[in-house]
C-alpha cells in the first residue's frame, strides 16, 4: 500500500505531533553536531539523522505508563517521552542539570519517571533488561508494554539471542525494534549476518516479525501499534525490522568513506522528514506554512535548551563519589 494510504489509519493530530517530534529531533541533533564541531562537546556524538521516524514512531505508539529501552539512535523517543532539549544538551555538556548529573555522557541516560531505561554502551545489553521489564508487568498482571531497539549490528550479540528467546518462551509484552541502517560502524550487513533481512532472526524464536520502511513515520507508528497491541493482549513479543540508512558517519568523527556515495544519494531522497511532509500535504493535514511554523517552534525550543544547558552548572568534583549505591530509604519509581 502506498505510504499516504497507510497514513490514513493514523489520526491527524497524532501525525502532526509526530511530525513536530521529527523536526525537533533533527534540529536538536543538528545543533548538537554544530556544538561538537565548535569543540564545545566532550565525548562522542551519535545521531539518528535520517532515521528519526523510527524512534518517534514507536515512542508515539505507547501509553504514558509503558516503558522504552532505547539505543543510541533513538533521540526521537527520548523527546516524545518528555525529555526536554535543555536536558539533552545539558547531558551532552556534562552539566549537573542533565539527567545523569554529569555522570554519563550523550544518549546514555534514562528516567524512570518518564518510563525510560538508560542505554548501555555494550550493545544489546538492554534487550535482556527489557525482557525483565516485561516480566515485571506480567508478574504483576499489569497491561503495560516495553519497547526496545537495537541496531543491525547489535543483533549479532549473544544477549540479543538470549533476550528474544526468553521473551518468546514466556510470551512477554515486549516489542523488539531493529534499526537496520545497513552498517554497524563501518561493517556492512553482509559481514554482519548471512541472512538478507534482519527479521529472519525472529524465526529462531517463533516470533512474529515484520519489515517496515523505517523512513515512513506512519508505517513505523502503525507497525509499533500493532505489535504493542499484541503484546498488551498477552500474545507475546514481536520483532520489527525498520529498513533505513545512517546518513552520516558512525559518529561525528567518522567521514563514512566506506559507504558508497550513491547509497547516500539514494537514501537522501527517502528522508523521513521529506516523506512525512509529502504525506501530510497529500492528506491535506498540513502545508508549507505549518512546516515553517514547526520549524520555527523547534528552533526556538532547541535554542532555549542550549541556553539552559550552557547556563547550567557543572557538577563539583566531589560529586564523583556520590551515588554508587542506592540509599536504603530510596523510593523506587
Amino acid at each position: 500500500m502506498d505510504a499516504v494510504e497507510v497514513a490514513k489509519d493514523v489520526k491527524r493530530a497524532d501525525l502532526l505531533q509526530m511530525y513536530y517530534y521529527l523536526r525537533l529531533t533533527r534540529t536538536l541533533e543538528d545543533r548538537i553536531t554544530a556544538l561538537y564541531r565548535q569543540g564545545r562537546i566532550m565525548g562522542g556524538v551519535y545521531t539518528s539523522s535520517g532515521m528519526e521516524a523510527i524512534s518517534v514512531g514507536y515512542a508515539s505508539a505507547l501509553r504514558p505508563d509503558d516503558i522504552i529501552a532505547p539505543f543510541h539512535r533513538d533521540m526521537g523517543a527520548f523527546l516524545v517521552r518528555g525529555i526536554t532539549p535543555g536536558e539533552v544538551v545539558a547531558q551532552y555538556l556534562g552539566k549537573r542539570t542533565g539527567p545523569t548529573r554529569g555522570k554519563d555522557g550523550n544518549v546514555h541516560f534514562g528516567d524512570l519517571k518518564r518510563g525510560i531505561i538508560a542505554f548501555v554502551s555494550h550493545l544489546a545489553d538492554n534487550l535482556p533488561v527489557a525482557t525483565g521489564v516485561a516480566l515485571a508487568f506480567t508478574l504483576r498482571g499489569e497491561s503495560r508494554v516495553v519497547v526496545t531497539n537495537t541496531g543491525d549490528g547489535g543483533t549479532s550479540r549473544g544477549d540479543f539471542h538470549e533476550a528474544l528467546n526468553f521473551a518468546s518462551v514466556r510470551k512477554l509484552p515486549v516489542v523488539f525494534f531493529c534499526n537496520n541502517n545497513q552498517y554497524a560502524y563501518s561493517t556492512p550487513l553482509s559481514l554482519q549476518m548471512a541472512i538478507p533481512n534482519v527479521v529472519d532472526r525472529a524465526k529462531a524464536y517463533a516470533m512474529p516479525g515484520e519489515i517496515v520502511d523505517g523512513n515512513d513515520l506512519a508505517a513505523v507508528y502503525l507497525a509499533a501499534r500493532r505489535a504493542i497491541d499484541r503484546a498488551r493482549a498477552g500474545e507475546g513479543p514481536t520483532f520489527i525490522e525498520c529498513k533505513t540508512m545512517r546518513m552520516h558517519g558512525h559518529s561525528e568523527h567518522d567521514s563514512a568513506k566506506y559507504v558508497p556515495r550513491e547509497l547516500f544519494e539514494e537514501w537522501k531522497k527517502k528522508d523521513p522528514i521529506l516523506k512525512a511532509e509529502h504525506m501530510l500535504k497529500e492528506l491535506g493535514y498540513a502545508d508549507e506554512t505549518t512546516f515553517k511554523e514547526v520549524e520555527e517552534r523547534v528552533k526556538k525550543e532547541v535554542e532555549a535548551g542550549v541556553e539552559f544547558a550552557e547556563q547550567s552548572p557543572l557538577p563539583e568534583g566531589t560529586e564523583t563519589l556520590e551515588g554508587v549505591f542506592a540509599a536504603e530509604d530510596e523510593v523506587q519509581s
Binding site: A69, D125, V129, T131, A163, F166
Partner: protein
C-alpha cells in the same frame, strides 16, 4: 520446605531455603529465577517445593542463559520487583559477567535507578567439582564498584544475610559455600531477623593473632584456633560476612588489639580479597603491626579435580596453625 514457627536446627542449606521462603511470603515483589529451580527444586534442592507454593511465575525456570536472565532480573528490579537469581554453580556467573558489572553495578551511579536484586552463587571447592564447579569468583566482583557482596559461614548468617540482601536496594551477590550446605547446622531464632550487610563478626575472640577470613575458611580458622589454644596462642577469628562494603573498623579494631594478622581465603591468592585487606592494614595499621601480614590462600591455578591436587590446593587448618606459630614467635 520448613516454616520457622518453632526453634529448630537447620543446615546452612536449609537456612538459605528458609530465608527465601520467608521473604517470598513477606513480600510479593520477591520472585526467583534460574535453571531447574521449579519442579526440580534447583541443583541443590534449595527451592524444593517452592513452585507448588508460589506458582510457576514466581519460581521461574529460565532457558539456559545466564546473561539473559540476569539481564531480565535487572529490568524487573528497576520496575520495583525483587528478583533473586540462582546460578546453578557460581562458576557460570562468568556468562553473566557483562550484565552484572556493566549494567547492574553501574546503573544507580549513572542515572539513579536502583537495581534491588540478589544473585545467589553456590561457590567454592572441596566437593570434587574440578575447575568448573568449584570456583571462587568473588575476587572479580570485589573489584567492581556498585555491587554488594556477602559470603556467610553459618546457618544464622546465611539466613540473616540473605534476608538483608533481598531487602537491600542494590545488586547483591550472595556467595553460598557448597561445602557448608549440609556440613554446618545451628538452631535459629524463631522470629524474623536479618544480619546487616556491612558488619563483620568476631567468631572467636583472642588476644594474639587476628585471622581475617570468610565463608568455609572460617571453620578452618576456628579449628586452628582450637588447636593453638593448647599451645597458649589465642587466635581471634574475624568473619567478614560482608565483602563489600567491607567492615574496616572491625578488622582494624581486631588488629590493633592483636598487632598481628593472618588473612585467609579459599580464592586464589594474587589479587584476591586478602590482598586488599593486607594493603589496608599496611596503610592504616602500619604502626600497630608487630609482624608481617600473612596471607593464606589457594595458589594461582584453576581448582584441580583429583583429590590429592584439590587437597593441596585448598588452604588447610595446618597452614593456619603453621603461620600462626611463626607469627607468634616473630
Amino acid at each position: 520446605m520448613t516454616t520457622t514457627s518453632v526453634e529448630h536446627e537447620v543446615t546452612y542449606l536449609e537456612a538459605i531455603s528458609e530465608a527465601l521462603d520467608e521473604e517470598m511470603a513477606r513480600d510479593e515483589r520477591v520472585f526467583l529465577m534460574g535453571e531447574d529451580i521449579g519442579p526440580y527444586g534447583g541443583a541443590f534442592r534449595i527451592t524444593e517445593g517452592f513452585q507448588k507454593k508460589y506458582g510457576e511465575w514466581r519460581v521461574l525456570d529460565t532457558p539456559l542463559s545466564e546473561s539473559g536472565f540476569v539481564g531480565a532480573a535487572i529490568g524487573a528490579a528497576m520496575m520495583g520487583m525483587r528478583p533473586v537469581v540462582e546460578m546453578q554453580f557460581a562458576d557460570f556467573i562468568s556468562c553473566a559477567f557483562d550484565q552484572i558489572t556493566e549494567v547492574a553495578a553501574k546503573n544507580h551511579y549513572r542515572w539513579g535507578a536502583a537495581v534491588p536484586m540478589v544473585i545467589r552463587a553456590p561457590f567454592g571447592g572441596g566437593v570434587h567439582g574440578g575447575p568448573f564447579h568449584s570456583e571462587c569468583p568473588e575476587g572479580w566482583f570485589f573489584h567492581s564498584p556498585g555491587l554488594k557482596l556477602v559470603a556467610p559461614s553459618t546457618p544464622y548468617d546465611a539466613k540473616g544475610l540473605l534476608k538483608a540482601a533481598i531487602r537491600d536496594n542494590n545488586p547483591v551477590i550472595y556467595f553460598e559455600h557448597k561445602f557448608l550446605y549440609r556440613r554446618v547446622k545451628a538452631i535459629l531464632p524463631t522470629e524474623d531477623y536479618i544480619v546487616p550487610i556491612g558488619k563483620a563478626d568476631v567468631k572467636r575472640a583472642g588476644r594474639d593473632i587476628s585471622v581475617i577470613t570468610y565463608a568455609a575458611m572460617v571453620h578452618q580458622a576456628l579449628e586452628a584456633a582450637e588447636q593453638l589454644t593448647k599451645e597458649g596462642i589465642e587466635l581471634e577469628v574475624v568473619d567478614l560476612r560482608t565483602l563489600v562494603p567491607l567492615d574496616k573498623e572491625t578488622i582494624y579494631d581486631s588488629v590493633r588489639k592483636t598487632s598481628k594478622a593472618i588473612v585467609l581465603h579459599e580464592d586464589n591468592k594474587t589479587g584476591g580479597i586478602g590482598a586488599e585487606i593486607a594493603a589496608l592494614l599496611a596503610e592504616e595499621c602500619f604502626d600497630c603491626l608487630d609482624g608481617p601480614i600473612h596471607r593464606i590462600a589457594a595458589p594461582d591455578t584453576p581448582v584441580p579435580f583429583s583429590t590429592p591436587l584439590e587437597e593441596f590446593f585448598l588452604p588447610k587448618v595446618n597452614d593456619v596453625v603453621a603461620a600462626a606459630r611463626k607469627l607468634a614467635a616473630y
